[in-house]
């Protein structure tokens, strides 16, 4: 049981963690998510008594870590895979920690076996790969057979077999009734491993809920509707009919429509009433990754922008499709649609979309280029690669399928 109350940490005038309160309960894997620099590691260090909080406190089993009796037997931690002296062999590294914690030396060989490092036990850890370093760090965390385990990015650098192993290890540790607190930025991994999520951004708590609640609270389920590509006017007709009925309609780059706020049968009825044929009507649920991206998009400190390669670009040959930007590059927000109750989440109005099919939300009006949340306007004013083009380009064949990269790859990655 880890309990943080009003945890705050400032380094000079930079606030790394602000007023963070949460509980981590035993018997479950609790995921700790946040973008880079959001304060995950700082929080972990404060839990372990390495950094003193500027304000607030954090306890493990009711004690601050530095006053916890038999601390190494109650808490094990992997903070940083390379936090070892590279000149020491794996076995001696673990032996020194075992001696420090009053753990019998044979336990060292046990944990070396558990993490699969027996064969390199006598080798200096300097020559270890990142994955082997992670395994050594996990061995150190397991050494005291503790009740509370903290792992900071445990799957970094592991091969698929290692990732699977860590996933099962976390689950089995939690199933034994231990408290397992795992930080990661790999959403797909957390979706498979964690039962509960604590999400922070810019050092502040964004969410503290179960994985299931997290997804449903942060990403509405939506329906994908596709009208015949050959008759664009049908699409416009359906869009206005659905909007009238109270649904939110967002065009997708390949010409399909994302509809939220209306159940599937109702969409079908409306289409039938307005005499529109449907090629597709399918239910979708956003993945954890999408939910996370949506939640943290305002709290990302380090964001990449699209590489403009200014001056290096060849003029596009007439009729060619400009390359589709990769999602996440300089255009935050091409993720799951906003949950209906929140309505006003920033959502990039896909520019270049024919007017009538633009979304009708508060941001629905075709945004002025400078203020579009879809990223800064291209300073070099190349008209070509705009954010996801909503409609098939008039020059391209009307039946053009989705371009190579589909930025709305949303369907349930789980």
């Amino acid at each position: 049981m880890i309990e943080a109350v009003g945890l705050t940490k400032r380094y000079g005038d930079k606030t790394a963690v602000y007023n963070l309160s949460f509980q981590v309960r035993p018997g479950a894997v609790t995921g700790f998510l946040g973008p880079n620099g959001s304060g995950k590691s700082t929080t972990m260090r404060m839990i372990l008594g390495l950094d003193n909080p500027t304000a607030g406190h954090v306890t493990i089993g009711g004690y601050p870590y530095r006053r916890l009796p038999n601390a190494p037997r109650q808490v094990g931690a992997l903070l940083d895979a390379k936090a070892v002296h590279g000149g020491r062999t794996a076995r001696n590294h673990l032996l020194s920690l075992a001696q420090l914690s009053g753990i019998p030396a044979r336990r060292v060989d046990e944990v070396l076996g558990v993490v699969g490092l027996q064969e390199v036990a006598k080798r200096r850890s300097k020559g270890f790969s990142l994955g082997m370093g992670q395994r050594l760090g996990i061995a150190a965390a397991l050494l005291g057979d503790p009740q509370v385990l903290l792992f900071d990015e445990p799957v970094n650098g592991l091969d698929p077999e290692g990732i699977l192993w860590v996933r099962n290890l976390m689950k089995s540790l939690a199933a034994e009734g231990r408290t397992v607190f795992v930080s990661s930025h790999l959403m797909s991994e957390m979706a498979l491993t964690a039962d509960h999520l604590i999400v922070i951004g810019r050092g502040q708590l964004l969410a503290d809920m179960s994985v299931k609640d997290f997804i449903s609270a942060n990403s509405a389920d939506f329906a994908r509707v596709r009208t015949p590509d050959t008759e664009p006017q049908l699409r416009e007709k359906l869009t206005s009919a659905l909007t009238e009925a109270g649904g939110q309609v967002l065009p997708e780059p390949d010409g399909a429509l994302r509809v939220t706020g209306l159940p599937l049968p109702r969409i079908s009825d409306i289409a039938h009433d307005s005499d529109v044929r449907l090629w597709e009507l399918s239910p979708h649920q956003a993945s954890l990754e999408e939910a996370y991206m949506r939640m943290t998009q305002g709290a990302v400190d380090y964001r990449s922008v699209a590489d403009q390669r200014a001056g290096l670009q060849q003029p596009l040959p007439p009729g060619a499709q400009p390359p589709m930007p990769v999602p996440g590059q300089g255009q935050p927000g091409w993720y799951a649609p906003p949950p209906p109750q929140q309505g006003g989440q920033p959502f990039p109005a896909p520019q270049g979309t024919p007017g009538p099919s633009a979304p009708a939300g508060p941001y629905g009006a075709p945004a002025a280029p400078g203020t579009a949340p879809g990223g800064p306007a291209n300073p070099y004013a190349q008209p070509a690669p705009q954010a996801p083009a909503g409609a098939p380009q008039p020059t391209a064949a009307p039946t053009a399928p989705a371009p190579a990269t589909d930025p709305t790859k949303s369907e349930d990655a789980r």
Binding site: G62, R88, L100
Partner: protein
């Protein structure tokens, strides 16, 4: 809490795995031992003997002390100068002065290298009692440095007495023997301990080593350039209290006749080291790791 508790694994006896914890969780079958300073000492001994830097610094130290000592002895014995009435142990000074740099380096590395590698975080998680870790490091390092210095210095002293026996040198008295072996060894080990404390404060190997070597050499060098008459007293004090001169006092061949004498250097170094440790402990408790 509301979280359903899975059944307790195996028939673990009801020992205090989680004192004060109202949440029955996992209980380890490994018996819990109340850790003491001696656990930390065992751990630090494993650490110091399992890295190459220890072997390197101590190897070079022994090479310098014994090598230069024997060379000096052989030169003096071979050239047969007028050494009658001199103390044969004095020749051990040169090797030890150079060798002290190795002890300084090892002392700094014992603490600062853990900060460089990040190992300190692992250590402090395993032992949240930070003072205990520093104390254990100090104990282990002091014993290692003292024993190695004592063995090398004694070996050199014995060799010098044997080499120069026929040249009419004085038979060293019991106290002279004690000062030239145990005395200098304590002094060198304390100098290393001072470096260890500085390493813990500075947390940066190269920085701390530079500071310590500067502290050894700077007073002598600065004093050399103090020509002004008004600075005469300062110059004198710098000479007398510089670490090389303090070291030479153990061999009774001080640069000056005034200033510290007898066992004084040991008490000076003891005081310095104590002050440095008080600072190191206070900072260690207060600072973030």
């Amino acid at each position: 809490m509301s979280t359903p508790q899975p059944p307790m694994p195996q028939a673990a006896p009801d020992r205090q795995a989680a004192p004060g914890s109202p949440y029955p969780g996992y209980t380890s079958p490994i018996p819990v031992v109340r850790t003491t300073l001696w656990h930390a000492v065992a751990s630090e001994w494993t650490k110091i003997r399992s890295v190459r830097s220890t072997m390197w610094t101590l190897g070079v130290f022994v090479l310098l002390v014994v090598g230069i000592g024997l060379l000096a002895g052989a030169v003096v014995a071979g050239s047969s100068p007028d050494v009658s009435g001199a103390n044969p142990l004095e020749l051990g000074f040169f090797g030890l002065l150079l060798g002290s740099m190795c002890v300084i380096t090892l002392g700094v590395l014992t603490t600062a290298s853990e900060y460089g590698t990040g190992m300190i975080r692992t250590t402090m998680v395993a032992c949240p009692n930070r003072g205990r870790v520093l104390a254990a490091k100090a104990i282990v390092f002091f014993l290692v440095a003292f024993v190695v210095t004592l063995v090398s210095a004694s070996l050199v002293a014995l060799a010098h007495v044997a080499m120069l026996e026929g040249d009419g040198v004085l038979e060293p008295s019991g106290e002279e023997w004690l000062k030239a072996t145990v005395g200098v060894s304590l002094y060198i080990a304390l100098l290393g301990l001072l470096s260890l404390a500085v390493g813990s404060v500075i947390r940066h190997s190269a920085g701390a080593i530079t500071i310590m070597i500067g502290a050894v050499l700077a007073p002598l060098v600065i004093a050399l350039f103090m020509f002004s008459q008004s600075l005469k007293d300062v110059q004198q004090a710098l000479f007398e209290y510089s670490i090389p001169n303090q070291l030479s006092i153990f061999y009774a061949n001080s640069l000056t006749d005034s200033g510290p004498s007898g066992w004084d250097p040991l008490w000076i170094m003891l005081g310095l080291t104590a002050v440095a440790f008080a600072g190191a402990f206070a900072l260690l408790e207060k600072r973030d790791v």
